[in-house]
Amino acid sequence: MSKQPTRANGASTKRLAEDGGASPLSKSLHGLSLQHASRPPAVADSSSDICPVCKSSRYLNPNMQFKVNPECYHKMCESCVDRIFSHGPAPCPIAGCARTLRKAKFRRQTFEDLKVEREVDIRRRVAGAMNKKEEDFETLMDYNDYLEQVEEITWNLILKVDVEATEGRLRRWEDHQKAELNPNARRREFDSSVPTDHVVLKKGATQRKTAAPASTPQTIANEMNEDIGFKFHGLKKRVAPPPEAPFDPFGGWSIAPQYYVLQDDYEVDWLTNQKNDVKHSVGGYDMRDFYNRSLREAFGGFGVFIEDEINARGTPSLDPHVGTKQAASVAVGARDVNMDDVF
C-alpha cells in the first residue's frame, strides 16, 4: 500500500484530536502545551524515514521499522533498540531526554501522530482505573460530576500538570478498588508481615515486644482513615455478592422413609436360607435393600390421590431452560441477534 492514504488518515486524526477536544479550555491548553506542536508536518514526513539515532534511512534499509517507548515517545529504528537496550535498561539516546528505557516496553506506534498515541495511552490507563458506571451513582448529576473529574485527571496527565500528585492519587484509588473487589488479597498482604516479625523474634524477644504493639495500632489507624485518592459524591458503596452456599452433592434431593422405620434385620423363616447363602453375599447382594424395597412398596400408595392426578393430566411440563429451541440454539452457539447491524 502506498503511504499517501495513511498520511491523510493521520492528519485527519490529528485535526480531530485538536478540534474535537472536551471543552474550549482544554482545547486551548492542548494547543499551548504540546511540545512539538510547532514542528511543521512536512519536515516530520521527510525525517520519518531516517532514524534519529543512527541516521540510517529507509532508502538504504527498506525493512527498517520504527519503535517508540511509552516512557518518552521518542522514535528510533528497531536495530537501534536492539543495539542499545539488549543488555538491560539504558538511557534514551535522544539528546536532552535521558530517561531510562527498557527494551520490553518498546512497541510499534499505532497512530501516526505521537501526541495522539500518548493521549490514547493515558486515556486507556485512566479509563482502566476509573471504571464506574451510571448505576454505581445515586443520581445522574453525581455521575456527570464524576465524569468531569475523570476528564480533569486525564487532562492533568496529558498536559503534565501535577503529574506526581495525580499519579499517586490514581494509584491509591486503584489499590483501593482492588482491595474492595478482593478482600482476601488484602488480608494475605497483612499476614505477610508476620514472618518479618518472626525474624526479629529470633534476634531478641525484647525487640519484638517493642515492635509488635507499635505496628498493629498504626496499621489499623491507616485502614480507618486511609486516603483512597479520590472521593466521589453519591457513589454507592459496593455490595459484595452474597457468599455461595456450600455445594450439595445430592442436588437438594432427599429420600427418607416417613411411614415406617427400617430395621437392620428381620427374622423371617422363608428368608433365612438366602440370608446365610454365600452366593448372595459374595456378589454384593444386600438383604437390607430387599427389606427397604418391600416396605417402600407396601407403603408406597400412602399420600397418592388419583383425583389430583387426573386433574393435572394433559398439561405437558417442560423446563424452559432445557428442552426448548432457544436453549438449544444458545447451546450450539447460534446467534439469534445480529449484533453487527448498527442500523
Binding site: F247, P249, G251, V278, D289, G300, D308, P316, G323, V330
Partner: protein, 419 residues
Amino acid sequence: MASPVVLSPRPNPPGAKVDPVAARSKALAILASSNKATRSPAVAPAASTPKDGDLDLAEQMNDDVRRQFVSGKRLGEGTYAIVYAGHYRHNPDALVAIKKIKFNAEFKDGIAMDAIREIKFLSELTHPNIIKLHAVFSTKDQNLSLVLEHLPLGDLEGLWKNRKLTYSGADIKAWANMLCQAIWFCHENYVLHRDIKGNNLLIAADGTVKLADFGLARSFADPGRPMTSNVITRFYRPPELLYGCYHYGGAVDMWSVGCVIAELAIRNFFLASETDIGQLATICDHFGTPTEENWPSVSTLRYYVAPSQQPGIQKGSTAAKMGKPASWWRGTFPLLGEDGVDLIRGMLAMDPKKRLTAKQALEHRYWTALPRPTKKEKLPKDAGGEAKAAEDLKRKGGETPANGRADKVARKLDFASMG
C-alpha cells in the same frame, strides 16, 4: 380434600416448597400416557364405547398422544431404532427427540425387551439427571415411539474424545456429581441401570448430564432370584459379573461409575480389553488378584480360578498380583486430586461389599473439597452435538458404536437367563 405435604416413598425434589401435587401429577401424566400407548388394540377394555368408526378407546387415546407431537428431520438410524427430531404441536419451541423402535423380527409377538425396560423405568424415574420420557405412542404399523428429552450436546465420551476441548478437575467433579446423583436416584428407587458408560450419559442444552438408555435396566431382584451376569459393556463390567455372579446389587453400577470418572480424568478408556478373560486380567493388573483374604468366599463364584490353579503357572507358586501402588494412582489421575483418587478407588473396590454405595459416594469429602464443581452454565460443551446424541439413542442396550476401538465389545444379550 387434604393435600399431603410430603409423601413418604417419593423423593423430595430440591426446594421443598414445590407444589407436591403438581410434581406428583407430572410423573403420573407420563405414566398415564405411556400406559395408553403400550396397551395394544387387541386388549382393549370391553367397556370401551366406540365413538368414531372402528377406533376403540385405546386407539383413540393413543392417537391423542400421537397428535401432540410433530416429528421432524431424521437424526440417525440404527438396526434397532430411528431417532427423529421433533416438537410439541402446541408449542414448536418445545423440542423433543422421538425414538421410533423398529419392528423387530425376533419379537414377533410383542415389544422388544429393551423397549419395555426403557419405558417401564423411565416413566418411574423423574430426576434432573435422568433422561425424561415425555410420552409413548404407537403408529399404525405397530411401531413403538418413545418421546424423549431433547439433548443436543452429545455425550460424556464425546467430551473426553474431543481433543480440541480442555477441561479442569472442577469440570470433572461437576460431571461426576451429576452422574452419581442419577445413579443414587436409580438405586434409591431400586433400579439397576446395568449399562453405565460415557456413551449413555447425554448432555442437555444447559450442560446437565443425563443418564439415558435404560434398555438393560431392571429392578433389584428378590432374594433367591438369579439375574444374568451378562450385562454391562465389557470395559465397565465389575469383577463379580466377570466371575459369573447371579446375585448382585447396586455395587455393579458403582464400578461402572468409577470407570467413567477415571475415563474423564485420563481422557482414554480406563480398563479396556478385547475379551472377558483379558478384562479380568486388566482388572487384576490394576487392583491385584482377588483371593479369599481380600474378598471372602470369592472362590464360590462360577468362573473364579485361584491363582495357584491357573494354567501356565508353576505348581506351588502363588501368582497373585499386587495391584498398582498409591503413587501410581496419584500420578495417573492428577486431575482428580487425593480425594478424587480416594473416591474412585472406593468405587473400584474388588469386593462389592467393600465398594462405596451410591449414597456413600455422594457423602464423600471429594465433592465438598476444593475446587468447587463448575457451575452447569460454565461447563465446556462440545461433545459431538445432536447427531452424536441420536447415535447413542438409536442403539440397543449393550451395543457400542460400530467404529473405533470398542468394535468388538458388542455383546449378545441372553434374555432367556434374565430374571
